[in-house]
Amino acid sequence: MTLVIPLAQIDGSQGHLVGGKAVNLSRLTNAGHAVPRGLCITTEAYLEFTRETGLANRIDLEYNRLNLDEMRWEEIWDMALRIRNMFLTAPFPNSLYENIVQSISTLDCSGPVAVRSSSPQEDSSESSFAGLHESFLNIQGLDDILKHVKLVWASLWSDGAVLYRNELEMSPRDSAMAVIVQELVEGEVSGLVFSRSPNSQSHIMIEAVYGLNEGLVDGIIMPDRWTIDHASRSIISHDSADRTHCITKAESGTQSIPLTAKKIASAPLTDDEVLRVAELGVCLEDEFGAPQDVEWTVCDGQLMVLQTRPITTITRHQDSTDKPWSKTDKRPWYLSLKRSFDNLKTLRDKVENTILPGMEKDALAMDAIGLSGLSKEELAKEIKYRKERHAHWNDVYWQDCIPLAHGVRLFGQLYNDALSPEDPYEFIHLLGGTGMAAVERNQSLIVLASKLQESPSLRMAIEAAETTDETDLFYSELRTFVDDYGDQTFKAVRFFQDQDSLVNMLMEMALNLKNQVWNEPLKTAHGEDEFINAFPVAKQDMARELLDLGRASYRLRDDDNIYIAKVDAQVRKAIGEARKRLISEGVKLKPTVSVDEVVAHLNHAVKPSTDAPQELLIDEPIEAQTKSIIPRKLNTCELGFVLRARQLLGQPAGPGIATGPARVITSSDDLFKLKSGEILVCDSIEPTMTFVVSLVGGIVERRGGMLIHGAIIAREYGIPCVTGVADVTSLVSTGELITVDGYLGIVTLAEN
């Protein structure tokens, strides 16, 4: 078994053992190019590690638990996180450890190293895993090197890599990963050269940044870009970047630091250096017989090659739409949302200080308009305006709020890297209890329910529809609640539209306050000190910042839905006013009609018949909320067989076990009928409907993921939760006794 090979000793036939990147580096070394020294830990070492530790079977089980084609991006990310943690927590088998350690010692490299992926499948001209498999710079010390070798191995199972491999119909079971451990060269200037520009075959393209290449490859640092004529080697153009920062070596890992004024003012390469890099690109194109994409760095004046690969001919499928989030399969877009720490900080500031206040300001301004005083034409104009504003905020939501959710994932990954916990979701304990808007609203409901619980006379008066001083006070407080949160409930129904249902629900909650069976949100986070202390002192501020970002991302991920619902409510209010007027004019209404049709009616573009009332359908104005959640009917009886589910498989999203009658939610009516202790079964929980959560015994969702709203709120309240249960609203009926096992991610239907 060949576990480690020095880069210089690799021959071209060993691609399956070392991957294309290592083969190329060896070839460059042997051809006399300046290449940092290093070795390659082979795919056989990967296979030995996964076999000896039992990971191969555990990964197999995890990977095949659910059907990949039916998994949402969040579920794929969850799976990748679990597998990553398996690698982190699995110790090196002794023989493998000794073999690798001995080889690294012979590298005679006491300084920092780069630990890079080199999968046999990556970087062919037909596929590119660039950015999907991980590489790490500035790793020091044997233990840290070995830990990062495991992380590179784990990146074979990253969400992006899994999805891309699936797209290419490559079998993950046949995949293995080699790892290059290479002396770190801290160049003053680094970059890429494409020996044939992606824009024109007759041009060479060079990108360069100050410092390390990492910022350029990850898209964090904008590079200066040159276009050179391939035949004459003359510079055609230079696009200067807005130079502000560069990536350099930190105490461990890398850091982004501001550039000096001198560097800001001058391009990272002179014209002579540009031509030297261009020459390198052409030289490697000749050497490898195909156009090359070369990573290079300049260290002490020496131009060094970090890696070279053929320019990928394959292009990822591009949709014509300019809104990638509107595609049916959003997974590739979601997987492209990964953001750097700095980028997420900027995004957080934007969401917290501009976007959410903007949504609220818009909603308040709309609320201040007296709709009843508007003429029909003015009302039509107002509806159109509100619809446009909602569409605007909807785009902002997808463009800025959704990517911010990656802050939680970035934090989770860092937490796991630092502490290698047995439970890969342990980090969530540090994110909860941060005052989510939905939780605050739910607490206000409990306060109202307490008033009912404490006063039998109030309950009796309300049940008898009597008016007393006590009921006046209660309804006044209820109105305040509705003013504050009235626009937050499920789908088309808003509290302000259905006060009776709200009161009925409060009565149910009051009953349970008495019986003390309602759920309270978790109040305390723990383990913060352990997390911070896991970092060297110099990095503890960064850890605190990332924890703060993770918490903000966790909270805002929920709150953004609450804020956009405020704008949504204003659209509904205006349509409600239109509906009232049209009814008064004798137009017969049905529950669904397009907003444009309502506007046309108000503008007299559609004239109601004088003979018979015209049917008018008022639809839900919000596209995202018009999706039918009416369950598909299960074909339960055929050829003398009757099919029923006994146990359903999902993902464990909230620990605990609960048994109770199911309440399958397909409409707002179902939601308001919910009784305490029932198991909430639904397609997906929106933050606007979580006000019932304090009543439920358990949660089962069709939509999967550990960080979706249902899972987040379930953990906040300590409720057993299983997500990602396919077709659950079809397979379970209201009233059926079910058990939610939030440890194993299974839902069991009682036999009788």
Partner: protein, 156 residues
């Protein structure tokens, strides 16, 4: 989406690939398990097996026709947790009557031609298990039930 057609096809796949099943029978003091060769009728509502009339399972079936069978395609590997399908059959067993014996033998011998001597032996009883339900387990923990509508009532 779960469907009867999908599960019938899965059952067919498992029954075609497997020759033997574990079978449990009841007697007044407990349960008895054994391995049996089996075949399944085309409509998948009855299962055929053979046993000498001197066996414990035969005596048990006479005493109590309730039986359970386990038919699975696992290969004794860890990968079975995701790949294997296990079918638990619940049913009522009855010795095949003289008039039905020919067709039952044909069904059984079509699958197990090498057992002809055993099947034709005088002391061998041909048994029909009237299936009442199948519990089908896939992906280790996903369990669905196919009930047979109006199963034959063999209550003594």
């Amino acid at each position: 989406m779960k469907s009867i057609a999908k599960y019938r096809s899965l059952l067919n796949e498992v029954f075609s690939s497997q020759n033997f099943a574990s079978m449990a029978t009841l007697h007044k003091d407990g349960i008895h398990s054994c391995l049996v060769a089996f075949s399944v009728s085309e409509d998948m509502k009855t299962i055929f097996l053979c046993t000498p009339r001197t066996t414990r399972k035969y005596a048990n079936m006479l005493e109590n026709p309730t039986v359970s069978m386990l038919i699975h395609n696992s290969s004794n590997q860890a990968a079975d947790l995701k790949n294997a399908v296990a079918v638990t059959v619940a049913g009522k067993a009855q010795e095949v009557s003289k008039e039905d014996r020919q067709s039952a033998r044909q069904s059984f011998l079509k699958k197990h031609p090498y057992m002809k001597d055993f099947v034709m032996a005088k002391n061998t009883a041909l048994i029909t298990v009237y299936v009442t339900r199948y519990d089908i387990v896939t992906h280790f923990q996903d369990v669905s039930i196919l009930d047979i509508q109006n199963p034959l009532d063999l209550t003594p």
